[in-house]
């Protein structure tokens, strides 16, 4: 886990016999270095293709299912020929997609930042949950203070809570060498049960009006984030979207233009060399994890203040946003731009497959939700496997050349 998540494509066996694969590898490697757009597109397409096969095999029409999901994302708003009520609905759908993409950008950054320091922050979910707990607690208490101050307070405290939660894992790694994957997994479940307890029946943060419902109090109305696109009643898009964009910019600036970012990247590239070069590796681990948690906690706060306004026990238990952040970061190659686009993709997928947009006649939304999970899993699986692309490519080439396909051993 100390290496960068993207291994360089290994040299191909028997590559000298034909000029084509060498060129392919060179082209592929170039794309990889220039941001890895090709791998991301290939893996995403492959995952959607396999997902389509699953749909086909279970007796549904994949084309109409995917078309319906696409329309549900509201991305057809971008097409100039969509007019009238279709356009109104598309706008509302697009607002929803961006609403879902906003926290995903942040949880994606939470995973990406730790990755750049050579750590796998699998605890984005727990840090997000802690952010929502603190966010809803601050937002629903102290109703007297003015709106902007209330919002800033809630956002800052929730982010700090996330930072603290992740910082524990960083500290354990820095001091006693506990693997951050293990500690963040454990912390995820601690957050899961603490959240379930806090908002559950008889819990300390359960609402004061209806004691039979395991939901928190609503946050104060003046602590709601401003909705700049669409109707606030119908969950329009709030300014948290711009906070997330700001976080993407901050991520890029911190990593590429500050000493801290340089040290983080140096540790991520080679911890031993960084130590030899005089960088305090232990401190980098703690800082990187804390910054990661800061992003995830911020995601929690923004969801609360932007559109959820309250948290239920079920929200804590059913939420997948932190885990999806892993897929977002991996698909986005841990770059700010990549995270933005992959958050859009997953936000669209989540929104397009929700029961609200998908008609059950075309494709049942419960199936579509699970299809999203399959696609997500496949993307994560394939994205790490650059070698797979080469493997399949070589195999196809060999089949064309009429040789035995089994002769290719990529692993050797």
């Amino acid at each position: 886990m100390t290496e960068a998540p993207t291994p360089a494509p290994p040299p191909l066996p028997e590559a000298g016999t034909d000029a084509a694969p060498v060129n392919f590898v060179e082209r592929y490697g170039l794309l990889q270095r220039s941001g890895g757009v090709a791998t991301a597109l290939i893996t995403a397409s492959l995952a959607f293709l396999i997902g389509g096969l699953v749909v086909l095999a279970t007796g549904h029409n994949p084309l109409s299912a995917y078309r319906e999901i696409f329309n549900g994302t509201g991305l057809n708003w971008l097409f100039p020929w969509v007019n009238g009520t279709d356009r109104t609905f598309a706008a509302m759908n697009l607002q929803q997609t961006l609403l879902k993409a906003t926290p995903l950008m942040l949880t994606g950054l939470a995973v990406a930042f730790a990755f750049r320091c050579g750590m796998f922050n699998i605890g984005g979910q727990g840090q997000y949950t802690v952010g929502t707990i603190v966010g809803v607690w601050v937002g629903s208490s102290w109703a007297g203070i003015p709106g902007p101050a209330h919002i800033v307070l809630a956002i800052v405290l929730a982010s700090l809570a996330g930072a603290f939660f992740a910082g524990v894992a960083g500290l354990l790694k820095a001091t006693v060498g506990a693997h951050e994957v293990i500690s963040t997994i454990m912390l995820n479940w601690v957050a899961f049960y603490v959240g379930s307890y806090a908002f559950g029946l008889g819990g300390p943060l359960q609402n004061s009006t209806n004691v039979s419902v395991p939901i928190s109090n609503d946050i104060a109305t003046n602590a709601h984030l401003y909705v700049f696109w669409g109707d606030p009643i119908l969950q329009g898009l709030h300014i948290g979207f711009f906070i997330a964009i700001g976080a993407l910019v901050a991520y890029w600036v911190v990593l590429n233009r500050t000493t801290l970012g340089y040290e983080v990247r140096a540790v991520g590239f080679n911890a031993e060399a960084a130590r030899y070069g005089g960088i305090n590796v232990a401190r980098s681990y703690v800082t990187a994890m804390a910054i990661s948690g800061l992003f995830a906690g911020l995601a929690g706060a923004i969801d609360i203040l932007g559109w959820q306004f309250r948290v239920g026990q079920l929200d804590v238990q059913a939420s997948n946003i932190g885990f999806t952040g892993i897929a977002v970061a991996l698909l986005g190659r841990n770059t700010a731009v990549g995270v933005f686009f992959s958050a859009l993709l997953f936000g669209g997928l989540i929104n397009g497959t929700s029961g609200r947009h998908l008609s059950a006649d075309v494709f049942p939304p419960q199936l579509a939700g699970n299809l999203t999970l399959i696609i997500q899993g496949l993307i994560i699986l394939f994205i790490g496997a650059d070698v797979l692309v080469l493997y399949l490519w070589q195999r196809a080439k060999r089949l064309r050349a009429g040789k035995t396909p089994g002769a290719v051993e990529v692993g050797t």
Partner: protein, 407 residues
């Protein structure tokens, strides 16, 4: 696991210190235990006296050099007296509801069994050098496909086979990507968990839809032992309540632990698995196929985790629901780490976590579900403390998580 070396002291004296330290730990627990049914002392004096004995033993052990066990005894004394005090302050009615030892033990075994299967599975995978955080997903596959096979063929045996096949297949995917394509094993495991959630959820909706799995599935039978005939009536009654009626799979899980221990530490196969996990290059040099051993170990881990899932559905709750493993695969992983990558250690940790679930259930009977929910965070906190090195460091196999590239 660090070995305690005592070059100066004679072994016999060191053993005595150790024993006194361990006795201290037991006394600390006893300080709590005497305040519970059946003894139920109602004065706080007795727990304090017993805890003082534990404290003395602990301090003595620390001064004699048995630091770890000594501190364990001191902690045990502090917790024992705190919990003992709490118990004496609690009403007798509540204590009698919560503490029914035979029911607690039976529930502990029921909760521990899925964890045991998955943890032993994880043991094989991780000892061979492949991190398996996909245990959760493999367990979920086992849970779904055991029901599917069971309903299709009307027999739980087929259900179990289907579960092992499905879990093994998913593990094969993990193995292929981790070993052959050398992707990051944690990334791969994460993907496996997502895939399993998606696949089982999709098929569940597709096949069973809104009604859920049929009520008439063939269940794995319980083993009925008539232990209440055992002479002192109280003992017979207790044994009968605790282990008189356990599911077949629970007994099988004991067998799996023993077998895993024998295979891992007493056979050439185990030696190969461990060598591949500690130093693959060296293993390769002496002619062991690193890839073959790792493939075998990972697929076996998937099958065992799936058995845990099959027990969960066919032996415990008798139905399937989306995402029903609810983190049990991760607790199993925690048990594996807590148990220091050893079969009996993992089994002990699984029992401990099962015990905490059982206690949580009983607490809910007296005080409502609120505390039960919070109590369920305990296994994870304990594991966090364990990896932090407070209860002796947990050190993974040397080559775990590192892809191996043949030369």
């Amino acid at each position: 696991m660090t070995t305690v070396d005592q070059p100066v002291r004679a072994p016999a004296i060191a053993m005595t210190t150790r024993r006194i330290g361990i006795a201290g730990i037991i006394f600390g627990l006893a300080a709590f235990w005497i305040a519970l049914p059946p003894l139920t002392v109602r004065s706080v004096v007795w727990p304090i006296l017993v805890a003082l004995a534990a404290l003395a033993a602990g301090i003595w052990a620390v001064r004699e050099g048995e630091r770890r066990i000594g501190y364990g005894a001191i902690f045990s004394a502090i917790f024992g007296v705190a919990l003992g005090y709490f118990a004496t302050q609690t009403s007798l009615g509540h204590l009698n509801i919560v503490i029914v030892w035979s029911a607690i033990l039976a529930a502990m075994l029921r909760y521990a069994t899925p964890l045991t299967f998955a943890a032993i599975g994880g043991l094989f995978s991780e000892r061979s050098g492949v991190v398996n955080i996909g245990l959760e997903g493999m367990m979920l596959m086992g849970a779904f496909f055991s029901v599917w096979g069971d309903v299709q063929f009307g027999s739980w045996e087929v259900g179990i086979l289907a579960a092992m096949l499905a879990g093994g297949l998913l593990a094969l995917v993990h193995a292929f990507f981790a070993i052959q394509l050398r992707i990051d094993q944690i990334v791969g495991g994460t993907a496996i968990n997502f895939l399993a959630l998606g696949i089982t959820g999709y098929l569940f909706i597709q096949i069973y839809g809104e009604q859920g799995t049929p009520g008439s599935i063939a269940e794995i039978p319980d083993v009925r032992l008539h232990l209440d005939k055992i002479p002192p009536h109280a003992l017979g009654h207790f044994l009968d309540g605790a282990i008189g009626q356990l599911n077949l799979m629970i007994w099988l899980s004991f067998l799996v632990v023993v077998l895993a221990s024998i295979v891992m530490f007493r056979t050439p196969i185990g030696l190969r698995i461990r060598s591949v996990g500690e130093h693959p290059r060296a293993a390769d040099t002496v002619g062991i196929s690193v890839y073959a051993v790792r493939y075998g170990a990972v697929v076996l881990s998937g099958m065992l985790a799936a058995l845990g899932g099959a027990y969960l559905t066919l032996g415990f709750v008798h139905s399937f629901n989306e995402g029903m493993t609810a983190g049990r695969g991760f607790i199993a992983l925690a048990a594996l780490i807590f148990g220091k990558w050893r079969p009996f250690g993992a089994f002990g940790a699984a029992l401990l976590f099962g015990f905490s679930s059982a206690i949580a259930d009983r607490l809910a009977l007296a005080w409502g579900t609120s505390w039960q929910t919070l109590f369920q965070a305990l296994p994870y906190l304990l594991t966090l403390i364990a990896v932090a090195g407070v209860i002796g460091r947990s050190i993974p196999p040397a080559a775990v998580g590192r892809p191996y590239k043949k030369q």
